[in-house]
Symmetry: C2
Subunit: 316 residues, 2 copies
């Protein structure tokens, strides 16, 4: 099959092409022309997924497309941004250059793009080892972004949802298991970016990050940027009951504290804003507080100190 | 050598990090926060360079860094945009993960970034086959962008400089030659994005594109978008004298008309604006005119029709 770049875009990505009023010129010129909102800052992020590094070579293309966008949307959520526009660089080997792969990939991408009314405004297709680089541009009213560095001693630390299932699914897939719990593989392959929660936390959270590399690693970035410490009650971290029943305790805590890929939000809220947090009516879980110290201390309900065995994941 | 993402950024890309006032938050958070100009549109483009597809695996890393940015800047030039911010996704195999490669690459990138006061505001490093995806965001006063679709019959067609040398250098490198004319390899490896000219053409040019895939292919995009035709006098196309002396005529015209990688601007100017064009004091070359027909017709000084043998280059 012979496909050129324009054929591929028109055939598989047409549904993602601009229908936003703020896209003056989309695909089809040397660059896109976009009209930003005067009262907003731009929020810009990029993330790559490379075959065999970030996903299995035989991964379902729908999942690859979905996750390429999900991880970028999660970065938008963590800044309290409203996502607007995406560009896509797709490097395809001969193996993926067929209808089945391209339609699966584009449909996975479209599921999330449609949900958030995103426009694909630019990109680049080339032959090469399978890799996807997606860039996302969002907006946030000026000064309402939520950074990593704003946590202060006394702030409460919250999570938006359960941790550990994605890391457990990944470990099982890596060791050759095929019978992964559907709920677990869903967490790994199709994480839910917490866009609505991120936006709702404008003016409430003092700092925020998404848990992509593991709670301890990511909360570690927050306290380092904020020059503070953290005290966690690990028994307050929401965990899928199956993780507790299926895994030995140390394995479970490894997944929960150091496993990546959950893409929940971890954020801090000053005491004065906790009432506002209750009013947003979204599930959040208080797991600890920011301290004046350094580093992260983990305790359990009995007050005993827990020493974690891992410290997060780096793809590099 | 063990290097993590933060080490690499701090050690090699620190000089590219924000010193622009419009960067509210650069690298070090989930996403960058940028303050756009209220009276400007955003101009957004992305381009990937993949080892063995876009450059030789043993290419000088300085050249790879330089060209990664040059091709993106050329897209900005072609829209009449002022470039502002870049993000970089770098996939590195073990071979490039060393001081020599990283410092060469980052210096090549920095040469152009410094020239245009660009800030590196985000990115992603991962292990994988060598590939570089660079995204660039520029600005242009609203409505002053120059698109591909504005050419009208009677407009003159211009080029910003000589064509063909880059394609000749590439052909020689591919056939194993090592003694390439320095001027030719410079054109291939370190093309000059025509940013200043692009900006100067705001309000003057009716359409514009950069010549990356070959003049006939790229001018073909312009006339297709503009629903017009073009008549070229090939003897008016500026060509390095060495190309004429070194190559057989058909080979020369193949490089000039269908060779890519020159990154000169091709633009059209209505009769009423030709006086303004003279006042910008930059070298430009009139090579033909837009017609009411379809397709591109090539003639020479004698008025004879020339039938080109190739139609441009696709990396895909």
């Amino acid at each position: 099959m012979s496909l050129n770049e324009f054929d591929v875009i028109e055939k598989y990505f047409a549904g993602l092409l601009p229908d936003r009023d703020d896209v003056i010129r989309g695909i089809g010129d040397d660059a896109a022309v976009l009209s930003g909102s005067a009262d907003c800052n731009l929020i810009v992020s990029t993330d790559s997924l490379v075959s065999t590094v970030h996903f299995f070579p035989d991964a379902d293309p729908y999942d690859v497309g979905y996750k390429s966008l999900a991880v970028n949307l999660s970065d938008m959520a963590a800044m309290a941004a409203t996502p607007r526009w995406i560009t896509l660089s797709l490097s395809l080997s001969g193996v993926e250059l067929n209808h089945s792969w391209l339609s699966g990939f584009s449909q996975g991408l479209a599921e999330l793009a449609d949900r958030y009314s995103l426009s694909l405004v630019g990109g680049d297709l080339c032959r090469g080892p399978l890799a996807i680089t997606l860039q996302i541009i969002g907006e946030c009213p000026k000064g309402r972004e939520i950074n990593r560095y704003g946590a202060r001693p006394g702030d409460s630390i919250y999570l938006s949802g359960e941790l550990g299932a994605a890391a457990c699914a990944l470990a099982m897939l890596k060791s050759g298991h095929k019978d992964i719990r559907p709920g677990f593989s869903e967490r790994l392959l199709r994480p839910s970016p917490r866009i609505e929660l991120g936006i709702a936390l404008r003016g409430i959270a003092s700092s925020m990050i998404d848990v992509s590399d593991g709670l301890l690693a990511d909360l570690g970035h927050v306290i380092k940027s904020s020059r503070a410490g953290a005290l966690l009650n690990i028994d307050d971290i929401p965990v899928d009951g199956h993780l507790t029943s299926d895994c030995a305790p140390d394995e479970k805590w490894q997944y929960v504290l150091a496993g990546g890929d959950d893409y929940e939000l971890c954020f801090t809220v000053p005491e004065d804003n906790r009432r506002k947090l209750e009013n947003i009516n979204q599930p959040v879980f208080r797991i600890g507080k920011i301290t004046a110290g350094k580093g992260i201390q983990c305790k359990n309900n009995d007050g005993a100190v827990y020493i974690p065995t891992g410290a997060g994941y780096s793809h590099f």
